[in-house]
Symmetry: C2
């Protein structure tokens, strides 16, 4: 029997995370399925940022580096975030951006494996990861072997210094087995760097138990830290003593206020820092993490899986006959918190949806991507989105949308 909207509403009533939606400020008339691009605004963030600007900056002025705890902010946010990563807290900090942190980690990993000349990286990974891999390889005269994520473990050999891949694919949402891949890399003497951009805050993670060496993640997707929120970075404790990353700024110095000419690396995870943190952004991210208070990450992953399963079922029932296809895995156990649906007119369909307040995103050439911020997206939202796609396609409403120019920002 076909599902109804009432069925979806009943699923929402039974959902253990239903209460978490009230932790967010969501605009009227919007069905937001793009939290995998920019997470929604958690309640309390605006107030916290305003207090930081008016009181800590305006009144406290430079004194607030000490008195308001700004100086300790990167590590403090890292410790708050660590449980979401399945990591002991002293291994996580918040700084810079994913690409900058990936650059640091790749160089640091190569220095830990001198003599090895190959990087194994994921073919089809989010492009900027591979741009950074290429840049680091060029600077070190190394070779990059690109293979699909599922083939990384087998591609590593005794010449591999480091393997870099995404834990959850930005396109297919496929989850890689972190423990298995890492073990395979280690078996050949290499190191593994995991990109958690579509993982942190979306799926259960166990970095310590998986034996991960290094990881980078994103603050502005499922963590809801605000546009361009700083990235987080994980370094397993066993690598702290020899950590040698190339962006040697004063926040990564052991004694930044001694103003000595030589660089003395800070102990522990602080060695991943470079310059003065952008404190407005740090403040928003720190406050945003309160939305995860008391929330179990296995509930979060289960919620995203349920929403994805629902969208796939509705896709099969209603959209597949209209020329849509699925670009994400059907197997919910191996799928992250988004569903990608392809259609030849995907760009136009998505624009028509956005015009109706149903916000997903489009990834060239033909992917409509719907992300499920597990703390605030409901089953009825998925229902409404699929029925809107069906209506846009059946009615031909998408044909009224102009195609993008060659340099469009989509």
């Amino acid at each position: 029997m076909a599902l109804t909207r009432e069925d979806c509403a009943r699923l929402d009533e039974a959902d253990p995370l239903t209460h978490a939606r009230r932790r967010f400020i969501l605009p009227d008339g919007v069905n937001y399925l793009d939290g995998n691009s920019l997470g929604a605004l958690p309640g309390g963030v605006a107030e916290r940022v305003e207090a930081m600007v008016r009181q800590e900056w305006g009144i406290g002025l430079v004194r607030s580096w000490n008195t308001a705890g700004w100086y300790e902010s990167p590590g403090r946010i890292g410790r708050k975030l660590a449980p979401l990563l399945g990591a002991a807290p002293h291994q996580v900090t918040v700084t810079d951006t994913i690409s900058v942190n990936l650059f640091k980690l790749l160089v640091a990993a190569i220095r830990l494996r001198p003599g090895r000349r190959t990087i194994v990286a994921e073919q089809g990974n989010f492009p900027s990861d591979n741009h950074v891999v290429d840049s680091v390889a060029r600077m070190h005269g190394m070779t990059v072997r690109y293979v699909p994520a599922g083939a990384v473990a087998a591609a590593v050999d005794d010449d591999t210094a480091v393997a870099e891949l995404s834990h959850v694919s930005y396109r297919t949402a496929e989850i890689q087995d972190m423990a298995q891949v890492t073990a395979a890399v280690h078996a050949r003497g290499g190191l593994a760097i995991w990109d958690l951009a579509h993982s942190t805050g979306a799926v259960a993670l166990a970095l310590d138990d998986s034996g991960a060496d290094f990881a980078v993640g994103c603050g502005y997707k499922f963590l809801n830290g605000g546009p361009g929120a700083p990235s987080h970075v994980y370094v397993a404790q066993r690598h702290h003593a020899a950590l040698d990353q190339p962006l040697t700024g004063w926040f990564g110095h052991a004694a930044p206020f001694k103003f000595e000419p030589g660089f003395a690396r800070a102990d522990g995870i602080r060695a991943m820092l470079c310059s003065t943190p952008q404190m407005l952004a740090n403040t928003a991210l720190e406050a945003a993490l309160d939305a995860f208070d008391g929330i179990a990450m296995h509930d979060v992953q289960a919620k995203g899986r349920a929403l994805g399963d629902l969208m796939i079922r509705l896709h099969d029932e209603r959209l597949a006959p209209l020329g849509c296809d699925l670009a994400t895995l059907r197997d919910g156990a191996r799928r992250g918190n988004h569903v990608s649906i392809t259609h030849a007119a995907g760009y136009q369909v998505m624009q028509a949806l956005i015009g109706r307040g149903i916000i997903g995103d489009f990834r060239a050439p033909d992917v409509m991507r719907f992300g499920f911020g597990p703390l605030y997206v409901r089953h009825v939202d998925v229902w409404d989105a699929v029925l809107a796609v069906e209506d846009v396609l059946r009615s031909g409403a998408w044909q009224a949308v102009p195609l993008p120019g060659p340099d469009a920002v989509t």
Copy 2:
């Protein structure tokens, strides 16, 4: 005849920048002479940030990358800032931090001068500049020749790829002659990178007319952009076509939303970008720059010079007999907007001043640094600060201040 406070008040009345102080929100009971470390809060910034968080992020959500102009924010802020640098607007953008941008520029400069094996850098420069120079030299197997700023021009030879130095010294406040040094570097076929950390917003700059190749500057000092505000970067137009920097993130890609595997560098200054900008920080900086509306930079430099001359005169009259000495230049034409006064008990004296609401900063081992945010510091503030130093020294009040621990954040 010795100066009086009334003399200083008359100087303030005659000051063409007196009105600009009303553009800032300054706390009661504070005499703020540390704008060279963290600029004061300009009026309107808190409101702008709050609107950005509540409206653009909260209501606009991911759509605001287009509709609120977030995507164009780095270049837009760069264009707003360019007049303060004496630069045509398409050569300036805002991104990342000084150390990260310096890393990008050093590598880009080395790639523009293949075969040359030496970097000339400033001995005694702000330490993290030299940490980054050392890191880049190590990655490229190059030699660094450290010489005092005044000797950089003479130290450049035919093996020099790039020279890097500060335009205004963080310690002595000495201004280097940008045109002269750059010409000397160019005469030997090298390139010059200028650190403007203590220049932008403090002294008149003429990057284009000086023939500068590259520059990096700071958003949180004299630009008042907020703690950790993003850095700005200048690349002369003649280097745009061949610009090849190593932090190849998606915001520096010619077509970031095409998701193509290869890196295609964006045209122009946008090639200096890396990842998604931290928009809360960008928003604060953009709003803060309104404080410079209609203000001529030669007035700003003249104001800072007048305040510095005043402090030096009062130092000579009142502090030199008490064991103080001057660590900045007496020549106002070659001095930036701060004055450094040394005293053996400098750390304790500065802590005692801060306890009285007179805020400067301390730089090891013995430097008390007083910065003159030219838009809000008055002549009477300088008077009050010097008389407080005199009182702290004469009364012995500094002796009640404990010495810092070995890892103190000062």
